[in-house]
Symmetry: C2
């Protein structure tokens, strides 16, 4: 039984240039940390990610949700988490502040993720193991599929998961081989060209076969030059992703992406505003076969549904510390599976939580094990930091969701 | 020059049943009230609307924005408010919490609206008068048109406003005749059938030619029965609007709207989730010529642009105390004008501010003077409450935007 909770506002200033992109110049990586404590002193820890100012508001909002779980048993909560999530996210007065987006939804993510962590710790297993051992019906019971009735009913979701059971034996081997990673930290926006070059070489030496460069400069020539620098150092076989972090207008994106196509990017990420579904659709059509990727700022399953229905993005980067936590992450992943769109999460959690979720997505849902973003800057603050070696995430074996902070 | 600011958390409990709808059963109408004080003691007052819990979070977020205006001259602020709005709404760390939605955007609305109020008070005129006297270029300077480049450039906006100058002489007469109102308070969700009947009769006696009924019951038969009750009492000439407040799934909406068409509603409002653009589009196509109305929960110009591009709603109910204030309200109204979609605001402000804005939309933008929602429950708390007589809003003549609270 959950006896109490604690919400902490944790902020981690970064070295100059680290984390910089076209929109966010000086981020302070921050977490709203929800801890739910049970009667034997177990602590379920959940995160929501922000980049500094206002993290205290997410913390306050998280209290609103955490309070409502006190006195409840974690197994009972998780047996019908979909309905609890629905109740919490639709608390009528609080709902007005979203609905299902912004600070209140980030806060719900933090509390939701603490529930999943406590659940796995209670069962004494890593979260990925807990999830792959659930029956399709048990999984679907943890999901709120409301407002998806036109695309994904509960029985369709069960069927989809059941159908994937056949290939489970083939896919389980990834536990031993590890999930591939890609390196995001080679090309932060404010890094000099020389720094980018050196980082690319380091990433190659470390075994990464995919990496990301931040673009979206006021001067398009800077973007083009840097993109070619990365391609030159990495060679043709390495996947290079370009990330504009919403900086471009649609006309700007149309124009520069035609130039950037020349260096054969694996995807173009967040070209413009995350609410502009039709702009993404137009760009995706214009730059095919190069694909658009986005989702780190899409707040909920309903907007993702619209993106998928319009075929407006080639990769979905849903982030479990942006949408309403693990539950909604799984819901969005199921939608993507139906549409055959790869899920490549944005990792506001630095991959701690997502290393579990991508294993589940691959093993139980049949998503391709493409690669998971790797950002190393907060490693020293986690109790069980991700282990990435030879460009591959080692499977976490500690109980829970690997989100305990020191 | 703005010397200081004050943010107040004002809450107004309502009588039982008042304000109830299918989703929001017990609202406490609440305002985040921003006051900006200048060197002579003038107070610019701006509102954002919530329905209770969490209003304190909007207040805290409003401080973040208000702080940045201290020391600035209001005329200088408003001379290029579009660029100031862009700066504020893109403050990089705070932006993560939206972007451009939820609590941070509600907070920005409160501060933005205080700027417009102070501007009008400084010039000694009602806000509607200030707005209609601005040149097209001056108006466009107050707008942030970023992420609309594919649909509405600054020069297109100036052209649109300039073209409307021709009919201004014909439309200015509305200042004397008043702007029509419609009565929302006849049919709150929790009112009994008898209460609804009595309210309809009262509304007719008060001169209203349009009124609204809340639907979205768990039992569709209740909705259908009540809709017919209202039609029967009002007769065929009165416009009756039905408002589901996001309660239905798309399949539910499809099914019940086919039944509700029989009583010839003027529109079906907020049938489903406000982020579900494609669901609205499908429903709009299915129930034509009956029209869909929505927008009270759409947070910004970019999502509205998507609704308009897909022709997914027949009426836009943008609310200046939900989007980023008067500036973004005008931006959305311009987009709607381009698409020939009527703007019929939701009035979280109880019409105090919107009575100014619809006059401007009609006189300067050439929008049809259809009608403005009227909700009387907070009249006694305003210094200059709206005056609605014979179903018509009398033009406010006090200086400012009529948002001073007692």
């Amino acid at each position: 039984m959950i006896k109490g909770y604690k919400i902490q506002d944790r902020r981690f200033p970064l070295q100059l240039g680290v984390g910089s992109d076209a929109i966010h110049q000086d981020p302070i990586y921050s977490y709203t940390v929800t801890s739910l404590t049970d009667e034997v002193g177990r602590e379920g820890v959940g995160l929501a990610f922000t980049i500094g100012a206002g993290n205290e508001l997410v913390c306050q909002a998280a209290k609103f949700y955490a309070e409502k779980l006190v006195g409840k048993d974690i197994e009972e909560i998780m047996a019908s988490f979909g309905s609890i999530f629905n109740d919490l996210s639709n608390e009528q007065q609080f709902r007005w502040l979203g609905p299902h987006k912004g600070i209140v939804h980030l806060a719900l993510a933090s509390v939701t993720n603490a529930c999943y962590d406590l659940w796995a710790k209670t069962r004494g297993v890593p979260l990925w193991k807990l999830l792959i051992d659930l029956s399709p019906q048990d999984i679907v019971n943890t999901l709120d599929l409301s407002y998806l009735e036109d695309e994904l009913s509960a029985s369709e979701a069960v069927d989809l998961l059941t159908a994937q059971r056949a290939g489970l034996g083939d896919r389980i081997g990834i536990i031993n081989t590890g999930y591939p990673g890609y390196d995001t930290s080679v090309g932060w926006f404010n890094y000099s060209d020389e720094q980018v070059k050196a980082n690319c070489r380091k990433a190659l030496d470390a075994g990464f076969e995919a990496m990301k460069l931040k673009v979206g400069s006021r001067d398009p020539l800077r973007d083009i030059k840097r993109a070619h620098i990365v391609r030159e150092i990495c060679g043709d076989k390495v996947k290079v992703m370009l990330d504009a972090n919403q900086q471009w207008t649609l006309p700007q994106a149309m124009s520069i992406c035609k130039e950037l196509k020349e260096m054969n990017p694996y995807w173009i990420e967040e070209p413009t505003h995350p609410d502009d579904i039709l702009a993404h659709k137009k760009l995706a059509d214009a730059i095919a076969p190069i694909k658009v990727a986005m989702g780190e700022h899409v707040p909920n399953r309903i907007l993702f549904k619209n993106y998928l229905q319009l075929n407006a993005t080639g990769f979905v980067q849903v982030d479990a510390v942006r949408v309403g936590g693990v539950s909604e992450f799984i819901t969005v992943s199921l939608l993507c599976r139906k549409y055959n769109i790869p899920v490549v999460p944005h990792v506001g959690d630095m991959g701690q939580l997502h290393q579990h979720l991508v294993l589940f997505n691959h093993i139980s849902m049949g998503h391709e094990a493409l690669f998971l973003e790797h950002i190393p800057h907060l490693k020293s603050y986690f109790k069980h930091p991700v282990r990435v070696e030879d460009g591959v995430y080692h499977t976490p074996m500690e109980v829970g969701s690997s989100c305990d902070l020191l």
